[in-house]
Amino acid sequence: MGGSAGSFKLLLRIVKILPPGLNKAVIIVLHRKKNFLSEIEKLFNDNSRLPLKEITDKDKINKNAIYIAPANYHTLIEKDDYFGLDVSEPLWFSKPSIDVTFESAAEVYKEHCTAILFSGANPDGAQGLLKLKNAGSLTIAQHPKDAEFPEMPNAAINAAAADYVLKTNEIVELLQIPNPHN
């Protein structure tokens, strides 16, 4: 899941409702400022029923856990289910960049991935979402009318990167449906 301006509250709401038997790993890439000693991780942690962790380099990716991409790094996914970090140039003035994580998820997870792009004031994530869609992942953009800053989901829709464009409540409902593979 990727988001920027206007996404935090919604992501917090989603973290709250994700059930313990989700049977998936959840990765959240949220744009934020470096050096901003944020309470984001703590707020997410206090509200999550699943174990939640800010990513450290080479962390193993486990099911039934939520991972937060750290500020001032890009988060990539390596082949054997672990994270790799990268301090290279920002994309769309953003580090973490949603595109970087989405693109590497497309390479590794292909059709085994669901990706959602939320509100934001720049087009980061759209190209990555397109890569995911082309790799067979299920891709969703938040409905621009529901997004506080519609530019991000709009960029994805314009790039034909979203399989579905869903209202906030529809996304919340979708995430509460028990996983059929459980």
Binding site: N35, L37, I55, T56, D57, K58, P70, N72, Y73, L76, I77, E78, K79, G84, L85, D86, V87, S88, E89, L91, W92, D99, V100, E103, S104, E107, V108, Q127
Partner: protein, 276 residues
């Protein structure tokens, strides 16, 4: 934007890695794959090269290889990146180091020198400048040239000024620079205590004994078995009870070296050598 449009295959990546190793002796085979693939794709996009053009140039043009090396390795760095790290050094490590007659510091993977100069400034402000010496090493000769010059764009220095303020060091970052137009040059008294030279963490060996080694945001590009080898090099290069600093999102994964380094600050990943 530099969004890679077409990715290369794993097999093509292996071919390039083998070619570079055979022709130039640089071994990228234990670099993390996702990141390396992204860098390779990026070079091809920037230079507008297909895979065959890239191989041809690498085989026939040593000048191109220098450019290639600069693009493949990540040279993004900041002065006082992670201000809380410098705060921790100041409060937890410097009181200990100040008891030494000479303090030798190694900034490993120093790129264009921002971290080495940050450490030089930190030592100066702690009143330890006279007895400290900072070695910056990298595989990239062009980056080392920049580091030796110590000239940065004034705009960047202004961006780093916030880091400096948050690190709690006296004064402001610009106090340590002479500015002319858009160029900020580090004061020569700070350059006196630094030496920049080529060293390859993967193929070169111990070259001095240090009280502190800072290798931050380098391990993120290495697979864990390569990290373990380099931890061995660092261990050998540290004096007894010397300090090792990794990036704020990097930690020691090796079971062998978890026992040989004591965690001094788990948040900032500052370790101290134990045993002998």
């Amino acid at each position: 934007m530099d969004v890679p449009s077409q990715s290369i295959t794993d097999e093509q990546m292996t071919e390039i890695v083998n070619l570079v190793k055979t022709v130039y002796g640089f071994d990228f085979s234990d670099y993390t794959k996702a990141s390396l693939k992204r860098r390779l794709t990026r070079v091809m996009l920037i230079k507008k090269l297909g895979i065959y053009d890239l191989k041809h140039l690498l085989l026939n043009d040593p000048h191109f290889f220098q450019e290639f090396l600069e693009e493949i390795t990540v040279n993004v760095t900041e002065m006082f990146r992670d201000p809380s790290f410098y705060k921790a050094l100041n409060s937890q490590v410097l009181p200990y180091l100040s008891t030494y007659r000479h303090i030798k510091i190694w900034s490993a993977g120093c790129s264009s020198g921002e971290e080495a100069y940050s450490l030089a400034i930190l030592m100066k402000e702690a009143g330890l400048k006279e007895k400290s010496f900072i070695y910056g090493t990298d595989i990239n000769t062009d980056m080392l040239k920049k580091a030796r010059k110590g000239i940065y764009s004034f705009r960047n220095i202004k961006n780093y000024a916030e880091n400096y303020q948050l690190s709690g060091i006296n004064g402001s970052l610009t106090d340590h620079f002479t500015t002319m137009y858009d160029a900020a040059t580090i004061h020569s008294e700070l350059k006196l205590n630094t030496l920049f030279s080529v060293h390859n963490l993967i193929s070169d060996t111990v070259f001095n004994e240090f009280q502190l080694i800072s290798c931050r945001n380098v391990f993120i590009y290495f697979e864990t078995q390569l990290q373990e080898r380099i931890l061995g090099l660092f261990y050998e290069s540290l004096s007894p009870l010397g300090f090792l600093c990794l990036g704020s999102k990097e930690n020691i994964r090796s079971d062998i070296f978890k026992k040989k380094f004591k965690e001094i600050n788990p948040k900032e990943n500052i370790y101290q050598k134990i045993g002998s």
